[in-house]
């Protein structure tokens, strides 16, 4: 779960990581008041989760509080890369002596957390990693020991900072690691971490991704998903789902199979409307809900269900599909391919309701594409 910048900044503050002062505003008035209280030149930043906000006009400088209000108003009325802006933050414009990059994240290949540090911040770190890998320091962290003092020292030596900023950076590194572990982060990133002309270090941005699987340990972030639309609804029902722009709805069990199904539809010339993985052992009710959700989507013409039943049982799947198809009219077609546990029973239920299951994934995909064209 990616946090909004203001949430990440609040966590930084709670963990003693210096950030520029900031205020969250959800209206023009709040933005004006925030700018007045902060005084001087400010930055207005749209609170969105998409990447690349800056280049998309989501971060702007205002010389006066009125300008701040106007910018906030524009942002709050619009979207950034398609994402609706619900709030902005207002924060003083900070003059910068030098920018650093500091992050702790999970590295798959090392099977551990890594700290990444660069004396060049502000830039896209992936870009930097490609062009000048020598400017990046990566330190793998042993999970049983944690970040060792010697590793912190190594990081400090790498920056070639001196004096007070070294001590501040040491505290920031230790606190960021504490936050990363305590909060079950997948990523905790400060980019840029600014060295000010006064010799201070301060985070100008804050990015945190929490591990969804660990939210049970962080009740404060276990709020209901507030979004709208297909994906949010699917999440509320407990599915992993992604919306796409085609007309063939996809239901599969297991991420790999569902992706392969989606890929197959595309390969056969069709356009998937979504990806929806019902997971393992889906019951009749679960299948019904999933099918209903997709069949009721206006863009969907055909629903293609591909189930390989291991824990899952074909009869349950069949019953769920039959129910959903009865609830949704409108001439929407259902193509089913299923195999495995209780396959015969499942087939019988489908056939009795006029739904004819197919044997192979390819055959079924072809059928779905053909139906979508003919509707």
């Amino acid at each position: 779960m990616k946090l909004y910048e203001y949430q990440a900044r609040q966590l930084f503050q709670a963990y003693g990581i210096p950030v520029t002062p900031f205020k969250v505003a959800r209206s023009v008035e709040e933005a004006v008041r925030a700018a007045e209280e902060l005084g001087g030149r400010v930055v207005v930043k749209a609170q969105v989760l998409v990447a690349g906000r800056g280049k998309a006009g989501g971060v702007k400088v205002a010389e006066t509080s009125e300008a701040a209000g106007r910018l906030a108003g524009e942002m709050l009325a619009g979207t950034v890369k398609g994402e609706k802006v619900r709030s902005v933050i207002v924060t003083p414009y900070q003059t910068i002596e030098k920018e650093l990059y500091l992050a702790i994240t999970v590295e798959r290949s090392r099977r551990s957390a890594v700290m990444i540090l660069s004396a060049e911040g502000g830039v896209e770190i992936e870009e930097l990693a490609r062009i000048s890998p020598e400017k990046l320091l990566k330190i793998g962290i042993d999970p049983l020991i944690g970040l060792s003092q010697y590793q912190v020292r190594k990081a400090l030596l790498f920056t070639s900072l001196s004096g007070q900023p070294v001590k501040t950076l040491e505290e920031i590194i230790k606190n960021l690691y504490r936050l990363f572990r305590d909060m079950d982060c997948e990523l905790a990133e400060i980019n840029p971490l600014a060295l000010t002309p006064e010799g201070g270090l301060v985070a100008l941005d804050a990015k945190i991704i929490l591990d969804d699987n660990a939210l049970f340990r962080h009740a404060e972030f276990m709020r209901m998903d507030e979004g709208e639309g297909f994906e949010a609804e699917a999440r509320r029902l407990g599915f992993s789902a992604v919306e796409l722009d085609g007309d063939i709805g996809i239901i599969g069990n297991g991420a790999g199979l569902t992706m392969a199904t989606m890929d197959m539809v595309k390969l056969k010339g069709g356009r998937p409307a979504n990806f929806l993985d019902v997971g393992g052992g889906a019951s009749e009710e679960v299948v019904e809900k999933a099918a209903y959700l997709i069949l009721s989507h206006p863009r969907v013409k055909v629903l293609f269900v591909n189930i390989l039943a291991g824990i899952t049982r074909c009869d349950e799947v069949a019953r769920g599909l039959v129910k959903a198809s009865r609830e949704v009219g409108g001439g929407k077609k259902i193509v089913v391919r299923m195999m495995g546990t209780n396959e015969e029973e499942g087939r019988k239920i489908l056939v009795d309701s006029g739904l004819y299951p197919l044997d192979s994934m390819e055959e079924a995909a072809e059928k779905a594409v053909q139906l979508a064209r003919s509707v």
Partner: protein, 295 residues
């Protein structure tokens, strides 16, 4: 031969009395797997399909010293503890079925297991099957048949899909290993490839990947540099997946410019791996490569 599990495998199921645990314990027993005990705290003394349930792994191992493998099906928040218990009890192979395990837990217990020389498969995986010998997992056993193809996969049901095709062709499998769909897993492609390379019965390997991460790229690099001695056929799911979206589980995500389909396929091809564009093409390619090999 085969790898990881076989006739010498003796299993304890941690979390045996839950709904899923009981279902799959029965299914493994029916398959012929030597499941000797189950463990569920506070339910020690019960029996399940004829096998005894113990409160602790230690007790189970004391009563059945031949136990060397644990199938872990406890709820996600308890997986780390189950691993520590199994490692401390001296088991040699842990297969973790549970999904949604916190990644920091996984990082810690994998390190602990590795430092103790214990192999871990998973989490979030279907398990390991050596057809005709032992099924340590949740896969439908009848899809697999004893044969010559080693399978290693990040995806559960997709493995069944492809295994079914291989079985139908009559080639069958030596062992199929579902390494799991999480960003961080115990055994990875490279480690399983190494095992298959040493296994004389395995004549070819099928590698089933997904978008996300760089495990396929690293496997390709390993094959390319080391010169893997057996033919490898790969299938990678997610060619049409959009970036920055999680496709079902945390492992399958094209993120920060990493883990897209093209990069994986390019790497695999440059290592001499035969990449199938559909699941069914895997069997087609295999049957050409293994023409003349007797299953």
């Amino acid at each position: 031969m085969a790898i990881l599990v076989g006739s010498g495998t003796a299993v304890v199921v941690q979390g045996a009395t839950g709904r899923q645990g009981a279902f799959h314990t029965r299914s493994m027993l029916q398959y012929g797997t030597k499941v000797l005990a189950g463990v569920t705290p506070m339910k020690g003394g019960q029996r399940l399909d004829g096998i005894p349930i113990y409160n602790t792994v230690e007790e189970a191992v004391r009563s059945h010293p031949e136990i060397n493998t644990s199938l872990i099906m406890v709820p996600a928040p308890n997986v780390a503890d189950a691993v520590y218990e199994a490692v401390d009890a001296g088991l040699r192979l842990l297969v973790i079925i549970t999904e949604h395990v916190p990644i920091h837990d996984t990082i810690s217990f994998l390190r602990y297991a590795r430092l103790h020389g214990v192999e871990v498969v998973g989490p979030n995986c279907p398990g390991v099957i050596t057809p005709g010998e032992a099924k340590v997992g949740i896969m439908p056993g009848h899809i697999f048949r004893r044969g010559v193809v080693g399978m290693v996969s990040r995806s559960g049901t997709l493995t069944y899909e492809i295994a079914y095709g291989i079985s139908k062709l009559g080639l069958g499998q030596t062992t199929a290993v579902g390494i799991g769909g999480d960003p961080i897993t115990g055994l990875d492609f490279i480690e399983v490839l190494t095992m298959f390379e040493k296994d004389n019965d395995t004549k070819a390997v099928v590698l089933i990947g997904e978008i996300g991460g760089d495990m396929e790229e690293r496997a390709a690099e390993y094959i390319r540099v080391r010169g893997f001695k057996k033919p490898v056929v790969a299938y990678v799911a997610g060619v049409t997946a959009p970036p920055e979206k999680r496709m079902g589980h945390a492992g399958a995500i094209i993120s920060m410019g990493m883990g897209d389909y093209e990069s994986k396929v390019k790497a695999l091809r440059s290592a001499g791996v035969h990449v199938a564009s559909t699941p069914s093409e895997v069997s087609t390619l295999l049957s050409k490569l293994l023409a003349g090999v007797k299953a």
